[in-house]
Symmetry: C2
C-alpha cells in the first residue's frame, strides 16, 4: 500500500449497539448534526471530532452505509448533487470507481446536518455507499470489500486490477439519477405488497406494488405504478406504511 488510509470501523458505537440511527443517550442522528459542537452532547461531539480532526487529514472520504431495515436496495455508490461542477464530476468518477452495480445521484431534500455537506465544504470528494436492508450478509460484505478495493486502486493506494463484483450472478455497473418525482409514495396508510424487485426495468404504467387498507375490509386496494420507463433501485419491504411515505425509488440514466 502506498499512502495513508484511515479506517473508522464504527462512527457511532452506541447507535450501532442499539441498531438505531439515533444515539440512545441523546436521541440524535449523527448524520443530522454535522459539523457538530465540541460542547454539545455525545452525538454532537462525535461529529465535531470527525469534522475538525479526521476530515482535514483526508482528501477523499468513503461513508459505508447500509440502507434501512424495511428496504431492499441495490448495492450503490451514491452522491447528492453538488453545486461545484468540478467537485461533482470528480465525485461521480470516484463513485463509479467502486464498480458497484449502481452509481447513483439522488436529490438532497435540503436535509441539514449531513456528513457529506461538511466534507464537501472542506473540498473533499465524498462517496456514500448504500446496501439493502440495514444488515450485513456475507454476500454483501464481499461486494463492499471489492468496491472499496476498486476505489483504492483508482486512487493509486493499492496495486491490482479493479473487477466488477458479482451481484445476483451478474457483473455490471450503471450510473443513474433519481429525481424527486422518482420517489413513489403511498397514497394512504396500509400494507404495501411489493410486486417488483430491485434491478427490474419498468415501463410507464407497470405495477410497482399494491397498497392494501388495514382500516376497512371493503376498501379497494390501490395499485402503485411506474410513472415512466425506469429502473427499480429500492423498494419497501416492511409491510406497513404510513400515508405519503416513499415505497419505491426508481431511477433513470444520469445526464450531467
Amino acid at each position: 500500500m502506498c499512502g495513508r488510509v484511515i479506517v473508522v470501523p464504527v462512527l457511532n458505537p452506541l447507535a450501532l449497539e442499539a441498531w438505531s440511527r439515533n444515539t440512545p443517550l441523546d436521541g440524535l442522528n449523527l448524520n443530522r448534526v454535522f459539523p457538530g459542537r465540541a460542547n454539545g452532547s455525545i452525538t454532537h461531539r462525535i461529529a465535531d471530532a470527525v469534522s475538525r480532526v479526521l476530515l482535514p487529514m483526508a482528501d477523499t472520504v468513503f461513508d459505508l452505509h447500509s440502507f434501512g431495515p424495511k428496504w431492499d436496495c441495490l448495492p450503490a455508490a451514491t452522491t447528492h448533487p453538488i453545486a461545484d461542477p468540478d467537485l461533482m464530476a470528480r465525485t461521480v468518477r470516484m463513485a463509479e470507481a467502486f464498480k458497484l452495480p449502481l452509481t447513483l445521484v439522488w436529490p438532497h431534500n435540503d436535509t441539514a446536518g449531513m456528513f457529506d455537506i461538511t466534507a464537501q465544504n472542506q473540498g473533499k470528494v465524498f462517496v456514500c455507499s448504500e446496501f439493502g436492508g440495514g444488515t450485513v450478509g456475507a454476500d454483501n460484505l464481499a461486494i463492499y470489500e471489492a468496491g472499496v478495493r476498486n476505489a483504492l486502486i483508482a486512487l493509486g493506494l493499492v496495486e491490482g486490477k479493479a473487477d466488477y463484483p458479482i451481484f445476483r450472478h451478474q457483473s455490471f455497473a450503471q450510473t443513474l439519477e433519481t429525481r424527486l418525482s422518482d420517489e413513489l409514495k403511498s397514497p394512504a396508510p396500509g400494507i404495501f405488497e411489493p410486486r417488483c424487485s430491485v434491478l427490474d426495468e419498468v415501463k410507464q404504467g407497470d405495477l410497482i406494488g399494491i397498497l392494501h387498507s388495514m382500516n376497512s375490509l371493503s376498501a379497494e386496494s390501490i395499485d402503485i405504478r411506474a410513472p415512466e420507463t425506469s429502473i427499480v433501485l429500492a423498494i419497501a419491504s416492511g409491510a406497513h406504511v404510513d400515508a405519503n411515505k416513499v415505497v419505491a425509488y426508481v431511477a433513470r440514466p444520469l445526464k450531467i
Copy 2:
C-alpha cells in the same frame, strides 16, 4: 375450490403497524400469551378469540411468519417436536407439502404461550412458515404463495399440480432438524461478521463468522466455527450482538 379456507391477513394489526413483535398498547407478544384471556388486555383478547372462535373451525392451521429483521433465513415450513407421534408425522407431512426449500423441525425451548401449542392441544395440524428478514419482497411473496398453493393442493382444497418454488435460481426441498447444540452463540458482545450464507454446507471447523470486540482495539477477534457437518439455515445480519446470543442456526437431516 372445495372446502373452506379462513384467511386472516394480520392477527395483530397494531404490532404490524409498529413493526414490532409486541403490541404497543400493552407491550405483549401475541405468540407468548396463548390461549389468551377474554378479560385480559388487547393481546390476550386477540389470542382468546383465535383460540375459542377460529381454531375450533379449522382442521389445519398455517401461521405465515417472517423471521427477525436482523436475520437472513431460508424459506422454511417449520414445526417444533410434538409429543404425539401421529400428530408429529402428520404435521411434518403437511409442512413438506409446502415444498419450500426447507422443512424444519426445531427445538422448543419450553417457551410458554405459543400459538402452536394451543392448536396442537386441540388436535390440529399446525405449520409455521419462516422467511428471512422480518420483511416482504416480491421474490419471497411468490415463494410463499406457491407454498400455500402446494399445501392447499395436498389438502384437496384446490386442484392443480404442486411445484417446487424457485429460490435463488434453484428448485429443491430438504427436511432438516436443529438441536439445541446447533444454535451457535456469540462468546462475547461485539460486531458479528457473517462469513457464510444460508444454504451453505459446512464441515466441522468451517468458519461461520467472526466476532469483533467493540470494547477494545487490541482484543483478538473470535472465530465461530461449525461444530460438525451441517447446513446453514439462518445467520445473524444485524452487526452488533450481545454475549451468548444465537448468531447462526445450522441443521442436519431429520431422523424421526
